[in-house]
Structures are given as C-alpha cells and as structure tokens.
C-alpha cells in the first residue's frame, strides 16, 4: 500500500536517457518546462507531447509506472479542469443555465491547462525515474556551483537533498513496519470518523519521529567518523563529464524550444 508511492523513485536501467549526464537532464527539464509554458496552440502542444512520448519510449520506463505515479494528482487535475471550464470568459457559449456559463474558450483552456500539468509532472517524473538520487544531487551541485561565489551553501543544500531523497524509501519501509506492528495490536487505520482516524496516526507518528531522529544522529556520527566536514576540498570518485549523447540532447532541446517560440511568435 505505502510501497506504491512512486514519487521521487529511481528505476534502474541502462537506456540512453539513464546514461545522460545529470546536468544535461536538469537543464533539459528546464528547457522542456519553458517550452511547455510557451506553447500556446495545438501544434506546439503536439510537438512537446511528441517529444515527451519519444523520451518515454527511449527511457524504457513502463507506462504503467508513470500512470501509477499520476494517481495522487487526479484531484488537482480535475480541480484545475473545473475551475477553467467555469471561470473562463468567452464568446462562444455552449451551455448556460442559472449562474453557470460554459464557453468553448473555457473548455479549450481547461484541456490545455490539464495537458500542461500532466506533461509537466510526467517530465519531472522522468527525471527522477531515470536519474539516481546521487547523480541528481551531484548534477545540481555542479550546476549551482557558480552561486558559491555569492556565499550560498550549495554543497550543504545538495547534501541535504541527497540525504532526504536517500531516506524516502527507508522511511516508507519504516512506516510500513510500524503500521504492521500497531495493526498486530489491533490498531485500526481504515475505519472510524475523521477524528478517530487522525488519532489513530499517533501510534505511527511518535515511533516514526523517534526513529528519524535516531537515524539522523547515527548518520551524523557515521559521517563525522569518516571525516566529513562539508564540501571544502572534497573530491569525487565519479567526475561528471559530458558525452556525445549530451550534445545531441542539448541540440534537440534547443530545436524544440526554438520551434515552440517560433510558433508562438507567429501565432500559428
């Protein structure tokens, strides 16, 4: 049940997408998002969508896993859709009764907005699905490197992110175990009123917090034992290097963005 949470999970694989430099993927995601938000008509949306489908195919991530990751977002999607349908002013009125008016513009806008959110999230998922947490934070640290000149704690931030990502599965497993143990003592998480159900969370949250603090303490000790003292003078075993495929990725990203902007300017 809890194991079904796929957010921020990494699917090991050996596709071209998996092997791309994490920095390439991060920059590419930014390009993709800009393109997505610049897209303003069917053709440019179609272009971005085609690109997304292409990347999904190349990455060999099963479509099922992507769809499963979408489940928690169904509510936001529907909410956005409804909001846009009802609150977009337009000229071509489709249905009108009482205070509600649905216009053609509203429906089109709703479809665009929902498609935008769906594609945005799928794209982000693809990044975390194909990039291991360590590679991701390495890439981020390297990309944000210039900000060190402004005395921003870049290394510390990326280390925090790395640890957080690393411990998501551990904490999920821990929660699962504690839930099972409390269920074995007759705890009931599925029935009862809302207040009862919130109260039923106490036997899970207290042990979970205690164990999280204990883990943090142990991790700090273990890091200190290995002489960790921040990013200063720390070298890396796996140096990030751009390869041929990264160049192709950048080129295709530039082409995508260029095409979408051109379409936007000419209003096609």
């Amino acid at each position: 049940m809890l194991k079904d949470i796929t957010l921020g999970q990494f699917f090991p694989g050996d596709s071209i997408i998996h092997r791309l430099d994490p920095r390439t993927k991060l920059i590419f995601l930014v390009i993709y998002i800009v393109a997505l938000f610049t897209a303003s008509n069917w053709i440019s949306y179609g272009l971005v969508l085609a690109f997304l489908i292409f990347v999904i195919c190349v990455s060999k991530i099963p479509l099922k896993s992507i769809v499963r990751g979408m489940k928690p977002l169904v509510f936001i999607l529907i909410f956005t859709g409804i909001l846009n349908i009802f609150f977009t002013a337009g000229e071509t009125v489709l249905v009108s009764f009482w205070i509600i008016t649905i216009t053609l513009e509203g429906v089109i806008r709703a479809v665009f907005m929902m498609a935008r959110i769906l594609m945005l999230i799928t794209g982000t998922f693809l990044l975390t699905y194909t990039t291991s947490p360590i590679a991701l934070t390495d890439g981020l640290e390297s990309l944000l490197g210039p900000l060190k000149k402004l005395h921003l704690p870049v290394h510390e931030l990326s280390m925090m992110m790395c640890i957080a990502l690393r411990f998501i599965p551990t904490l999920i497993e821990e929660t699962d175990k504690i839930m099972c143990a409390q269920k074995a003592r007759g705890a009931d998480f599925e029935n009862g009123s809302l207040i009862q159900r919130v109260k039923a969370l106490v036997p899970i949250l207290v042990p979970l917090f205690i164990s999280a603090f204990r883990r943090a303490d142990e991790l700090a000790t273990a890091m200190e034992c290995r002489c960790y003292q921040g990013g200063e003078g720390r070298t890396k075993m796996k140096l990030l290097r751009y390869h041929r495929w990264d160049l192709y990725a950048f080129l295709s990203g530039a082409l995508l963005l260029g095409a979408v902007i051109t379409l936007h300017i000419f209003g096609l």
Binding site: Q182, K183, A184, R185, G186, A187, D188, P203, P207, S211
Partner: protein
Amino acid sequence: MAPILEVRGLTHIYSVGTPFEHTALKDISFSVEPGEFVGVIGHTGSGKSTLMQHMNGLLKPTEGTILLGGKDIWSDKALTRQSRFRVGLVFQYPEYQLFEETVYKDIAFGPKNMGLKPEEIDRRVREAAGFVGLSDAQLQASPFDLSGGQKRRAAIAGVIAMEPEVLILDEPTAGLDPEGRAEILENIESYRKAKNATIMMVSHSMNDVARLADRLLVLCDSRLVMEGTPKEVFSHAQELLDMGLDIPDVTRVFLRLRQLGLPVAPVYTLDQAVEALLALKGGDHRA
C-alpha cells in the same frame, strides 16, 4: 487434537506486476498443535518474517489458506480482525513501536483496541507486566526512559496483554546481551505455562530453539525444506550447514568427537550431552 493453526499451500509474492516483483514464500504447508512450541529457522531473507505476518492476517496470501481453529481467517472481515487478537505477533525490534507516555498506557493499547472493560484492561496490563518482570514503578515511567532490554520486554508485554492463544515472536532476543536474552526466553516460557499458549519463535540461535522447541520448521529460499523435532532436524547437520545455517554448539562438538572416533550419539542440548558422556563412561561413577 485439532491443530490450532494450519497453513495450506501458502504462496506470497510481493509487488505483483512491477519490476520489483519478488516471491517471498512458495507453496508452504504445515500445522501447529495447541500448546506446541514451534521454532522457525532459516537464513536472512528466507521468508520467515513474511510467513509470520500471514499468521495473524497482516499479509494476505497470494495463494493458499491459513486456518485458525479450523476457520479460514480471510473468509470474513470480523474473523480477520479476531485473528489479530487470537494470534499475538511480536515483531523484530518491537521496542521501536512504543509510543505512549507511560509503559502502562502502551501495554494497554492492545487490550483497549479489543474493546475490553477498564477493570479487565487493568488486570491484563498488570498480569502482562508480571510475566515480563516490570515493576509498578516502571509501569508509570516513560517507555523511553527504560533500558534496551526493559523496552523490549515492555513491548512484548503489549502483545501478551491481549492474551493471545498463539504467541509469535520474530527474533525476540536479537541484539540483547546474554542476560537480557535469558530473561526474555524465561518470560516466554512462563507465559506459555500459565496460559497453555502455543508459541512460534523465529530465531537465529540454534542453542535456544534446540532447548525450547518441540518442533522446528526450516525455511530456505522461500520454501519449507525441513520439518520435525529438533532431534530429527539436527540429525541433518550437514544439510543445515550447507544451507548456511548453524547447528547448536554441542551438536558441533559431538560431531567432531565422532569424527575423532568417539562412539557418541548425536545430541543437540547440554543435558543430552551430559547423558551421552556418562553413557560413554559406562560403569565409571566418578562423574
């Protein structure tokens, strides 16, 4: 006597239909008689913990059935919930599930969930605390102020307080010092004697299971590979060692003695070892 627990053709597969699909149990069948002490051994990842979580309906079998007192625990919802109380399951490192302000309240969590009257809850908490040797002062303390061994015993008391007919313990002595281990094993025995309860215990200590268990189940790579009395199981010493499992220390010593040419019978507890050695000395009564 009719078996209290019966497992028929149990198969469990985790994460069906994902890249992480993994068979944890494969076609396992056995039964447990009332009042029996069953030891479960097997190396890490052999499926012991998964098997234990099926006994009280925490996990649903992918295939097969689990009968408690002759009834399938998944046949209706009330029965599944009942099985949680009739089969008490103590997880590995149970001290990590303590959460209440006082030890007393934590032990009362299970009985409270059973919907018992306050007087009955009080009686059960005090009795359970008695079984595991916690004093009244400790009952009023915060569980987080206790020592490691005391925490473990408080957590076990939390399950014992439900007065389960079958008490299942998953490596109850892991990570404790010798004194703590001996205490926990004594606690389990005293509960068993007082309530005539059935015990299933997962353990890596062959010395403990050889001494305590009436019967042993041996799991290897998701399958039940051996089943029998400690004598029967430990007579296959070489097979156990090949599976990466251990054998009791005395069994090891006696195996070596036999290899050295001493005509001793295979033994698995200290008492038997003494007997065997005395028999060997024959008429000599200096011992």
